[in-house]
């Protein structure tokens, strides 16, 4: 059975809500039924077969070709299966994702993996602001799973994050890990201002010395035995995080944010 392949015919003039096109919603549908589904695009409704040419039949393995950054809500509430996006993705990629795999070859927009619960998201390009964050007004961001971004991420990555891993090979923007409740964010590149702003618990694992606020206190240099276990869990990833030469267990530990609970930590590679 070949993957259900949706190839974008032309760039839509308005943003498109792709949330109906997830594996669990398509499981019982024929190709013609999938083609007849309607997607919200601005004020209008578009049939799937107006927007995409459709091939293949495996609804648990969806490929979106020629994808562009106006396709929002790809993989929303995904419960199982795999979605591969060739190109860019819009906002709210993997929103509330519950399980399964999503891979994007290009860049992704705002609020990727927003309130994600479980599963795996891999972005080969850059991600916008609020990666793995909570919706405005909500208190719980990402609650589980793993996000891997091979490029850079915008501001507020992991805002209100509760559990899970965000792995960033590139740089992270300002307020990375802001208001984190728990979980791990690892950044191989540089981090911006206000790192860990108001974080309560959780770990920010850094390869480069950050510019820390005064509300983070230096706890000294340490060899931490959980780090080899954490790095071992990355071994299967298609990433520099899987490279044993990138792993370390010797870190400078900073505790913060002392203006909040102060039980979070920033661990910087030594």
């Amino acid at each position: 059975m070949s993957a259900l392949t949706l190839t974008l015919k032309q760039q839509p003039t308005q943003r498109v809500d792709m949330s109906p096109l997830v594996c669990q919603h398509l499981a019982e549908l024929s190709l013609s039924e999938i083609g007849a589904l309607v997607l919200q695009s601005g004020k209008s409704l578009l049939r799937v077969n107006e927007l995409f040419s459709i091939e293949g039949s495996d609804t648990q393995d969806i490929i979106i070709n020629n994808s562009v950054d106006t396709l929002d809500f790809i993989g929303k509430d995904l419960e199982s299966g795999r979605i591969t996006v060739n190109g860019d993705a819009g906002a709210y990629l993997a929103f509330g994702m519950k399980a399964g795999d999503i891979k994007v070859s290009g860049n992704v927009g705002l609020y990727a993996a927003c309130e994600m619960k479980k599963g795996y998201l891999e972005v080969s390009g850059n991600a916008g602001d609020f990666l793995g964050a909570a919706l405005p007004g909500n208190k719980m961001g990402m609650k589980g799973g793993t996000i891997l971004v091979k490029g850079n991420v915008g501001e507020r990555a992991g805002d209100h994050m509760r559990r899970g891993n965000i792995l960033i090979e590139g740089n992270a923007g300002d307020y990375c890990g802001s208001r984190m409740t728990a979980g791990t964010i690892a950044v191989m590149g540089q981090t911006g201002r206000y790192l860990g702003y108001a974080m309560r618990r959780g770990t920010l694992l850094l390869w480069n010395q950050p510019n820390l606020s005064a509300s983070f206190n230096d706890c000294g240099a340490h060899t931490l035995s959980f780090l080899p276990i954490l790095f071992a869990s990355f071994k299967t990833l298609n990433s520099r995080f899987a490279d044993a030469s990138e792993a370390f267990n010797r870190v400078q530990r900073y505790a913060g944010d002392m203006s909040e609970m102060g039980q979070g930590e920033v661990l910087v590679k030594l």
Partner: protein, 298 residues
């Protein structure tokens, strides 16, 4: 049945159901992992008075441990799940948490999950940190030498305790030498422990006693100094009897380790003073698992 001049009795070892768990202790080096493991499995020879039976299962290569450091696998057996959990937690708290550079991990993936570091975390007095990695929860507890890392839970599984065999020899040194040879080979087998000191017990017991308060007492039928005083099971030339007791995860594990152990004893043979192999058979009073010696050695 006679193997190398050693008579194998037509009897069976009688064993009983237990609950078991395994934990992995790692440390900066094997020396400190072993010290911690020895402490954790100390005073754990018999459920009769220790609350559990425990021992070191084997030394682990760093490639086999979760944190890539030298480690030791220990197993603990108890009569019930509640008792096992209590013993595990108490011992982990007093013997591993306290041991320099140690870390503690689950050694059984399946089974009912029982606390390992889950409650020890409170020692961290609010400074403890939880990390969930690959679906497993770990607790990082700040201690004076750095951080004590403990997996939250380990697995509790059904197991069997009290597998055994008796080595009957012409002298005490010969009985001990045979048991030492057996233990050396038996320790190579996974999923089993021999919980008595050095794996050998010289005070095998029978069920019951003339004293009402005691549930077990000396196995007088196998005491050589009582040959003329009791209904003995010993022939005149037997001067010493020693027992090897085995706890294992499954009947197959115990079958296998008994075969290896008895074979090692028989390899020394009659020329080294080994006359008979027998077993602790309590007439069905002790437990439902029966390990027939001749079937095992067939």
């Amino acid at each position: 049945m006679i193997i190398n001049g050693v008579s194998i009795d037509a009897t069976f070892a009688e064993a009983f159901p237990m609950k078991a768990t395994r934990a992995i202790i790692t440390a900066q080096n094997e020396k400190w992992a072993m010290i911690s493991a020895q402490a954790m499995t100390g005073f754990a020879t018999s459920v009769i008075a220790c609350g559990c039976e425990g021992a070191i299962e084997r030394v682990l290569d760093p490639s086999e441990t979760p944190d890539g450091r030298p480690g030791v696998a220990i197993m603990i057996f108890a009569m019930g799940g509640k008792g096992l959990a209590k013993q595990l937690e108490t011992r982990a708290g007093q013997c591993v948490l306290t041991s320099p550079t140690s870390a503690l991990f689950s050694g059984i993936e399946g089974g009912i999950r029982i606390p390992l570091g889950k409650n020890l975390r409170y020692f961290g007095d609010g400074f403890q940190v939880s990390k969930q990695i690959s679906g497993k929860r770990y607790w990082r507890i700040p201690v004076m030498d750095g951080e004590f890392l403990a997996e939250a839970t380990t697995g509790q599984v059904d197991a069997i305790g009290g597998g055994n065999f008796l080595v009957l020899a012409e002298s005490q040194p010969q009985a001990l030498a045979a048991c030492e040879a057996a233990i050396e080979e038996m320790r190579k087998i996974p999923n089993v422990i021999m919980p008595f000191p050095g794996g050998v017990v010289r005070s095998g017991s029978k069920v019951g006693s003339k004293y009402k308060t005691l549930g077990a007492s000396t196995n007088d039928a196998f005491c050589p100094t009582l040959k003329g005083m009791t209904k003995t099971d010993l022939s005149p030339e037997i001067e010493s009897v020693m027992e090897i007791v085995i706890d294992g995860l499954t009947k197959e594990d115990i079958d296998k380790v008994m075969r290896v152990g008895i074979q090692a004893v028989c390899d020394l043979g009659a020329k080294n003073g080994i006359k008979r192999i027998s077993a602790g058979n309590y007439g069905g009073k002790l437990g439902p698992f029966h390990f027939h010696l001749q079937e095992i050695m067939a």
